[in-house]
Amino acid sequence: MKSSHKGFAEGALFALNIFIVVLLVASDSLVVPRWLQPLGRMHPLILHFPIVILMLAMVMEFFRFRPEFMNEKLYQTFTSYLLVLGALLSSVTVIMGLFLSREPGYEGDTLLWHKWFGVGVAFTGYAVYLIRNTSKYTITLAKTGALITVLCLLVAGHLGGNLTHGQDFVLGPVMDKTKEAVTIDQALVYNDLIKPIFEVKCLSCHSADKMKGGLMLGDSASIMKGGKSGKLFIAGDPAMSLLLQRVHLPETEKKHMPPAGKMQLSDNEKMLLYLWIKGKAGFNKKVTDLPATDSLRMIAAAMLKPAEGAAEVYDFPTANEKDIQKLNNNYRSVYPLARESAALAVNIYNKTTYSGKVLSELNPVKKQVVSIDLNKMPVKDADLKAIADFENLRRLILNFSEVTGNGLKDLAGLKHLKSLSIAGVKLSGSDIKQIAALKNLEELAVWDTGLSASDIRYLQNQNPKLKLLTGFKDDGRVMKLTNPQLKDAAVVFKQQYNLQLSNPIKGADIRYTTDGSAPDSIRAASYKPGVVLTQSTVIKARAFKAGWQGSDTVQFNIYKCAYTPDSIRFIQYPDSKYKGDGAKTVIDKELGGNNFGNGKWVASQKDLAVMIWFNKPVYLHSVSLNTMRNTGSQIFLPAGVEVWGGADQEHLSLLSSIKTASPLKTDDFGLIPLACKLKSAQRVSCIKLIAKPIKSVPAWHPAKGKPGWVFVDEVFLN
């Protein structure tokens, strides 16, 4: 080799190593063009050269400083040439490898380690070449360098072998074959569910080597034969089968199997044995031969791997992107199932804009559409003819559409149609022939179609693999009706009130009373719209319907308040925590409800007094205070209420007063109106109201001796 060749080789070596560094730094965004791919694929071919040449070079480098070689010119030059060639070839191989690694199918830890060890070979090789002629290069350095390179070579080579030939390729034949996970579509009931139980839990004693009790569970013939105590099982009759009897004996029993102290069967395993014997599954039945709802199959599905290739492969071309975009609008979504998938799904919305055109416009992508959702659209039979053109359709939803059983026959040409939902489509027994003609169906939702149980059985017989979704059946359980509702949440009216009661359950009969008695389904009035109230009334109502349990009784307080004062103010202020929105809180026509802390109540432990003015005098008949009783919270009815009235605040006289009974321990929570009737109607412009709390809480209450609270949320003036 001329020195100019060597110089060229050195230059190339340098350039290649820089190139490797670049590729490594940006390896994630490396894009290998098609024309370079063959170069990458030659990696497994070329790599043998650097292995041999570099290995040889490194062996020679290792012994380079031995006295017998030190002065051999040939040895020294040859080593140097071999090294540069080896380093060069390994750099080329590494670059090819990096190209190849970008192709699909290469990933994982093995590749990663292979890559770095390969790169290690190229770099250490080059490094050795670079420093081998400097003065600091010692025997130790030469030996270490050579060793590292060779080590990297071996590891990279081994990992590369694993990548190409698979893990444990070399030792495979002599290694114990570990069990491959079986997918459910390939699994046999005996082989993959039952046999493993025997193998792990029974075979240590019941094998050809030991045969305890004369029983062998190693192969089907000996299993059928049984042991000393007789046959193991009677197919189809698990209860009489010896195998299960032994398994289910209490663990303390001597004959319990597996014996105490050995690994016991799990519940799942016991269940599997039971179902295997019960179903006479024998030794050759496939799991997928069992119906989808079979217990054994369901347990198997949970244990085994799902069928391979569950993700469907579509063999039609991709649709034009622009076509897809054009077809998308506010009421029609057309979208690919996944990135880079040719298959499209279509959803249609909005009854009012729907017409057959919505489907026929999809013609440009009719090959690609695999799923159409027409839930609740007014689809007609004629539209089904358009749907029949979507030759690759897998799934169709026609729930609550207007198609008929007769129209469904047009779908028979769809070879790939696997899942059809026609819930809510009205069908009759004569339509099932059309449905049975859809032979490739795997799932059919027929809830609320009006098909009878025998129609369903017929369909199941015609296509045993069909999963029929029939849905909810009313089991005749009697349910309790919901309570009647009043249209308005709380009512204060001025002149008259149009009572509006309702119950969300259709056909429910609402019975109500106005005299405080409990409503029943016979004597109480049945509510009809048009009831008008002119007085404050307590409505008690309850709903009834045949086949249902009656609702709870609910009570609605409806208040009349004829006069709205023109102004109002406190003359005795309420407690600062319960002052509401000032005095007007009690004339705002808004009731406080059960929560006394919501700012709609005013309250005090002293007298609560307000002064009310009218611009024009009114004829007052009664004054009513709406109060709360909540004994636990120390809230009692006022001990007394006084109503004063007159032409102005200087000329007031006591018009009415009431006193309430002493509170009892048994008093319930309540929102209670206290009415003060006037002896005769009085013409007043000014009214003073005073509500007095009880001065001393009775002895039975935890707060005995303290003053009680009085709470008022509204005053009604009539």
Binding site: G11, F14, A15, I18, F19, V22, L23, A26, D28, S29, L30, V31, L36, D267, S295, M298, I299, A302, P306, A310, E312, N329, N330, Y331, S333, Y335, P336, L337, A338, R339, S341, N347, Y349, N350, K351, T352, D373, N375, K376, I397, N399, S419, L420, S421, A423, L444, A445, W447, D448, L469, G471, F472, D474, M479, L481, T482, P504, I505, K506, W548
Partner: protein, 485 residues
């Protein structure tokens, strides 16, 4: 002389340096042919950003309905049957079982930790023989349609952080909600409705608040924010036209407004302007779509009986379940329900029975209803709270009255449909119901699995905000292979 030698050697080195340099630059240039963005300065930024709107792979589930039981229902009275706790009623929780678990301030100072078994009995249901408490008979009936996970665990021990963690993947509360992520990742199926909606209801039990931060879009575009449907006359606030404005005038107004906004956009280029226009347009379409959805009067009697008559009373959990089905059926990607009142620190037997009565029938009905419409395959239903409850009593233990404190180490939820294996029970806890002994599922794993069912690789669903890429699963999460078909 020596100087000349040196000069000469330097010359050689200089020449060598220059030639080498050119070689080096040459190979870098060669590299740039293969690596398009090598010198663009964009680096890996361009390739890694997620393209919103399309799933990474074919999804099993298209939509999610999340029945969140806010306050954390006790797993020990619902789906995690522990007869041992009844046997050991009143005995002390062994310290070896508790290990280094930190307690909340509510029980940390408690002198004793008496174990307490479920007040309610359990039965086995369905082919899966799953143990379910007597408080949930309807859910028992759908045992073969659901996958019960007994081994969920979380990092947080208090309501707000735990709830925020479940909803956003982080405890602090500035991240997008799961529904927002799904809206961002998959886009909207029905352009007349928001992709992410929220429904609230309240039980009578001791409750904890829910806040709008739980359905916030975080740093995502505001179009992905959850839209709350309330139970009053206006299910969506401010959706109705003002009185006197007819639909035609509204249209004209929107068109003019869009022109103005467009001018604004051309001047400033703020993408939020476009978002706003889109939102106005969607609101306009929602004005017709929403009343139809909210109208339950046309639901057949069967459906009413199935969900229970309460489903006709707006604002109840049952009504929200029915509404959830209607929204989901109409292409809403993510329907988030919250039912409050599950925080039973005391009086558990009585309060929890009330809560269970609220949700049992309607939750089961929702699954059955989706199934009978052939929609359960493509809809993922999730039922569960934010953490579990302790196996010992908080406060005084009486036979029919006890409480349970917060417990993050294990709790039970169930899922149905959407490519989740039906009729299985996943994960195991120890006989004290305190620690997980098999197949733990962390909240991050739960999120990764949900996204996986929707066809999204949780590692690829990212959004860059303030210089960092975020994921719902942050830097964790593994798809729980054992529960997916």
């Amino acid at each position: 002389m020596e100087k000349d030698f040196l000069e000469n050697r330097l010359n050689i080195n200089r020449r060598r340096f220059l030639s080498r340099l050119s070689l080096g630059i040459g190979s870098v240039a060669l590299g740039s042919l293969l690596i398009p963005d090598l010198f663009s300065g964009k680096g890996d930024e361009a390739e890694a950003d997620f393209i919103p709107g399309i799933p990474n792979f074919a999804p099993k589930a298209k939509r999610v309905i999340y029945l969140f039981q806010d306050g954390a229902p006790s797993q020990l009275e619902s789906f995690d049957y522990k007869p041992k706790l009844r046997e050991m009623m009143g005995q002390e929780l062994p310290p070896s079982v508790r290990g280094n678990q930190i307690l909340t301030g509510m029980t940390a100072k408690q002198a004793s930790f008496p174990l307490v078994g479920s007040f309610y009995d359990f039965k086995q249901y369905g082919e899966s023989r799953a143990w379910i408490s007597d408080m949930f008979p309807h859910i028992g009936k759908i045992a073969d349609d659901i996958c019960i996970i007994k081994s969920l665990n979380t990092d947080a021990i208090n309501h707000d952080p735990a709830l925020t963690f479940f909803q956003t993947g982080a405890q602090q509360g500035n991240r997008p909600s799961m529904g927002s992520w799904v809206s961002y990742g998959l886009g909207s199926e029905n352009k007349n409705l928001p992709a992410f909606t929220v429904l609230l209801s309240k039980g009578k039990g001791n409750g904890q608040g829910v806040y709008s931060k739980l359905w916030s879009n975080g740093f995502l575009d505001s179009i992905h924010q959850g839209v709350q449907f309330s139970s009053g006359e206006d299910p969506i606030l401010y959706l109705k036209d003002p009185e006197g404005l007819n639909r035609h005038e509204r249209r004209k107004m929107l068109d003019k407004l869009a022109e103005l906004n467009d001018m604004n956009y051309k001047e400033f280029g703020d993408p939020e302007i476009n978002t706003k226009v889109q939102q106005y347009e969607m609101a306009y379409r929602m004005q017709t779509a929403v009343p139809e959805i909210m109208d339950v009067s046309k639901e057949p009697d069967d459906i009413v009986k199935m969900y229970g008559p309460e489903c006709l009373i707006p604002g109840t959990y049952a009504a929200n379940c029915l509404l959830a089905r209607k929204l989901s059926e109409n292409g809403v990607r993510f329907v988030q329900l919250y039912h409050q009142g599950w925080d039973q620190h005391s009086n558990l037997p009585q309060e929890m029975a009330g809560q269970a009565k609220d949700v049992d029938q309607a939750s089961a009905a929702l699954v059955t209803d989706l199934k009978q419409r052939g929609l359960l395959d493509e809809t993922l239903v999730i039922w569960g709270g934010e953490f579990g409850r302790t196996n010992y009593s908080q406060g005084k233990l009486e036979k029919a009255n006890y409480g349970r404190d917060h417990h993050p180490r294990c709790f039970s939820i169930w899922m149905a449909g959407g490519g989740i294996k039906p009729g299985i029970v996943y994960g195991e806890t120890d006989e004290f119901g305190y620690n997980i002994i098999k197949d733990p599922v962390h909240v991050h794993d739960f999120h990764a699995t949900i996204l996986n069912q929707l066809g999204i690789d949780h590692k690829k669903l990212t959004f860059k905000s303030q210089g960092r890429r975020y994921r719902l699963t942050d830097v964790a999460g593994n798809v729980v292979k054992g529960i997916i078909t």
